[in-house]
């Protein structure tokens, strides 16, 4: 129960801050490339530093951070199914997010601002989630059995 309440409160806080700051993690990648404008990229750096410091500090304080940092335990690159999914999924998510004009976090924020384009995007996003859960996940499971 506490995790549901915690995510609701955290969501409220980051939704509010996201609306005020207009932080977007896809624009952090595309804007430096298109406009040579690096201010959205500070979001990428801040997120990484915040998470790294958080996991380190909370781990030291006895929090639940099993296997952190993972890179020390799995330092090799193998052509396994999760790696193939990461490549295909990452490329597609980046490509179509740029076409849409923002990351899923930014679109949730824009939908909260009442923008109809973002609400329509989220409708497609949620239908896509259900389609994935019903259909695509079975295809990926079959591929995982083949690739290992």
């Amino acid at each position: 129960m506490i995790h549901a309440l915690a995510t609701l409160v955290i969501g409220l806080l980051i939704g509010y801050l996201g609306q005020r700051s207009r932080v977007c993690f896809v624009r952090g990648i595309s804007y430096p490339y298109i406009l040579k404008d690096f201010y959205p990229s500070t979001g990428l750096v801040g997120l990484f530093i915040g998470a790294l410091l958080g996991f380190t500090a909370f781990g030291a304080l006895g929090g639940y951070v099993p296997g952190f940092p993972q890179l020390l335990q799995t330092p090799s690159i193998n052509l396994t199914a999760p790696m193939v999914f990461a490549v295909i999924g990452g490329f597609g998510a980046g490509f179509f997010s740029v076409l849409a004009g923002g990351c899923p976090f930014r679109f949730h924020v824009m939908a909260g601002e009442g923008r109809k384009a973002a609400v329509t995007y989220l409708l497609g996003f949620y239908v896509g989630i259900l389609y994935f859960s019903a259909v695509v996940i079975k295809i990926l499971s079959t591929l995982m059995e083949i690739l290992g």
């Binding site: 995510t7 409220l12 996201g18 896809v26 201010y39 500070t42 801040g46 410091l53 999924g89 179509f96």
Partner: protein, 157 residues
């Protein structure tokens, strides 16, 4: 406040809250799942769908009993911010079918990756190799998207 600094501090706080949610607030397993704007909505939607339609779609273990509510929080928090600062302005919708399809595609590719872009970066901070490869491919995809927009003469919405 300086805009660049505000974006940085907001993202810094999001990263720290993501770690806090996992470390002390029980938003795990899986790890680095404190905030995810594709995984958390998936858990919520799947739980609702399972409840209404009797399906047996899978959620992450953390949402096995009660789903995470991040998406509802973000939508509400953003609406509060917009209303408070008189920025709640429903804009004109130009191409609904395209936006719907783009949302559909982003959800499917992000779930194939296993995370939204926000969680991918948090996962990199956790030291995950697949997330690092995935993020490099997100960057490649984003650059390909920019080049596609340039060549077709389209503008970002």
């Amino acid at each position: 406040m300086n805009r660049k600094f505000f974006v940085f501090t907001t993202a810094l706080l999001i990263g720290t809250l993501s770690a806090l949610a996992q470390a002390f607030l029980g938003v795990a397993p899986p790890v680095a799942y404190g905030i995810c704007l594709v995984g958390h909505p998936r858990d919520l939607l799947v739980r609702i769908t399972n409840l209404i339609l009797g399906t047996t779609f899978q959620t992450q273990p953390v949402s096995a009993n009660i789903p995470v509510l991040t998406a509802i929080g973000v939508l509400t928090g953003s609406a509060i911010g917009a209303l408070q600062h008189k920025e709640f302005r429903p804009s004109r919708l130009r191409n609904p079918a395209l936006m719907f399809i783009l949302g559909f595609l982003v959800a499917n590719f992000a779930l194939t990756l296993g995370a939204c872009i926000l969680r991918t970066i948090v996962f990199i901070a956790y030291g995950n190799l697949h997330a690092t490869i995935g993020f490099l491919c997100v960057v490649a995809g984003a650059i390909a998207g920019v080049e596609y927009l340039r060549r077709t003469g389209a503008t970002q919405r």
